[in-house]
Symmetry: none
Subunit: 208 residues, 4 copies
């Protein structure tokens, strides 16, 4: 019995591992080729399993992609909390977020998140199937919102600017798309980039 149960758990663990591997590989291919140029075949091959096996984990290509994003956003949400945990002021928290998005292992995922979320194709998919994603996204926007409100309350941020616009602006600056060239081609160190972006977001480009 106990053995059976352990085997159960072992199998479950293996299953989980494989699922994670599929998600990881699929994410890579997706980032490289985009949704429509990515075939289930290629994902399976790269993982080293058969096409059918992917379907044992995810009922459809759409669901697979949604799972990728769900996981990424979840991870992001967690990293998010970790990143702001050690910070006190609202602006420090936001800077820490930028840092988290542009630096280290997560930069690739941020890239994926924003790059694909922006595409019309993805939007359609999420519009139909991605209810769970929207809620995570909501949570994210809410967290940023809270920080901004905190900053306003403490007199740090300009309370006359609507929080919603602040959130959107911040999110815009958090998408690595537009800054990619600076990092890859012009070899700008990510932390320098983060420094300047936060400076712009907080103090603007105008000399006072």
């Amino acid at each position: 019995m106990a053995t059976t149960h352990l085997q159960q758990t072992l199998k479950e663990k293996q299953r989980q591992q494989r699922e994670d591997l599929i998600l990881k590989v699929a994410e890579e291919v997706l980032l490289e080729k985009g949704y429509y140029e990515t075939s289930m075949e290629e994902i399976a091959t790269r993982v080293g399993i058969a096409k059918g096996t992917v379907y044992l984990h995810f009922p459809s290509k759409e669901d697979l992609v949604i799972a990728i994003f769900a996981r990424d956003m979840q991870t992001f949400l967690q990293g998010f909390d970790t990143a702001i945990a050690s910070q006190t002021s609202a602006s420090e928290k936001l800077t820490a977020l930028l840092s988290f998005a542009y630096t280290g292992i997560f930069s690739n995922r941020t890239q994926l998140l924003s790059s694909i979320l922006n595409s019309v194709d993805m939007r359609r998919i999420f519009a139909e199937k991605g209810e769970c994603l929207r809620s995570i996204w909501q949570a994210l926007a809410e967290k940023i919102s809270v920080i901004l409100e905190e900053g306003k309350a403490s007199g740090e941020f300009d309370a006359s600017i609507p929080t919603g616009i602040m959130v959107s602006s911040f999110v815009s600056l958090l998408s690595p798309q537009k800054f990619e060239r600076l990092i890859t081609v012009e070899q700008l160190p990510p932390d320098v980039l983060v420094y300047y972006i936060s400076r712009i977001f907080f103090k603007g480009i105008v000399i006072k």
Copy 2:
């Protein structure tokens, strides 16, 4: 002779009109559905012509899409110049640009431009066929760059922030993607949005 010539012109004009109509419709469908979910058939049907007729104007789906972007960017470039023509200070020019991007008839196109240019799928197509687009894009970035340099030279803008980062930040804020919800769902008037975005970009969100 004169008649022939006029007919020539007339036909040419009709051809041009149809081509414009195809571009317009295709742009709409593209914006709704994205590249891969858009079929030539649907474009043709919506225009009210046969599939084959589309091919009389554009040799392939890719070419059609590239034509759309080329036209949009061209139009944008022109509107751009018009928009900044009557402005004197660098910050006024940038605000005018934001205004141009978010207000009036062009807002849809800005949407398309940024929404599709960001998709991985489009990137691949443009990487192969869209040399002309890259040059227009270069021109655009260059123009913004010039304005920012002007502002720096006149002491208006903070010269210690690299222009490249300023450009990317500005372009980020110029993509309507992230602000779309505010306009459509929360009914925020575009000019109010522009007011706040420019305020953030110029002065930041921190209280001095």
Copy 3:
């Protein structure tokens, strides 16, 4: 009245000339590209007229092709008679025919005739529409048949070989397909080729 009639004739002549030109050009393209790779568009363009104009002369692509072959076979039939006119013995006549097929301006057409008649595609077309062709072909086979019978009657040819098989064998050797390489690549002069082919046909390859 007379003028009208002359004009009529003139127009008719022009029409005939154009029709001939279309046939000539179409024949060239056909020889180069084969039936299915040849488009009506290309024929028209090469002639220097519009696609629709071709249809004023030939109701369909199939009909155009049939017209080409009808003309070619007609020409061949005439050249045939001219070629054998000055010959007396049956074998001289056949040699003259080989010479006619492989030498001079007609070699191209012989090529076309045999090359296309052999293709399955053409067969289908001729099976459906080419009744006229079959009759010309009949006439041709009949003429060769007559010469062979003459030769048999005069004791020149071996009467124990069925004439039908002789005809088919002769026609086989008359198709430039298999000998093309010898002429183009190995630069064998056509008349030398004719010399040897007739020698094989008449005396065989065995040493007596």
Copy 4:
């Protein structure tokens, strides 16, 4: 393990069988309709499988056709060797070849081979993709060449006729195209036909 291996072999065998069936059916349709009138759809339907399945075996229509010819020529080459194995003199060998080409199950294939190889359309396809075919063809011509040279060396054949011309003539007489009518319409038994053709090729039609 053994089971797995056997299953492997079984599957492989089934796959091979299906592939052979596709080739066989495709060959039939091709012979009936020619390359361009043959659709992948029809081939699939006649085999009793779906369109896509054909593509599991052959990456494109062109490749399918090339595979047909490759197999046919291979088979021909083998039958060729078998046919001449039991013969001693050069002329007996050549007669055996004619017999092989016109008699029995291979007659259809000979038909296809010569009928399609002669069409301009096929030529174009093979020019692009059919390198392997050319080499097989070379081998065939070479084998015939060798037999003819043998015959010349043994004093059997007339050494004053160039071997190349002999080869081409022989190949011409080996194409069933021109003799088809005799067999199908006039009900001439193939072996009688072979008898006369070889007689013509060896001794000619002239009475000595």
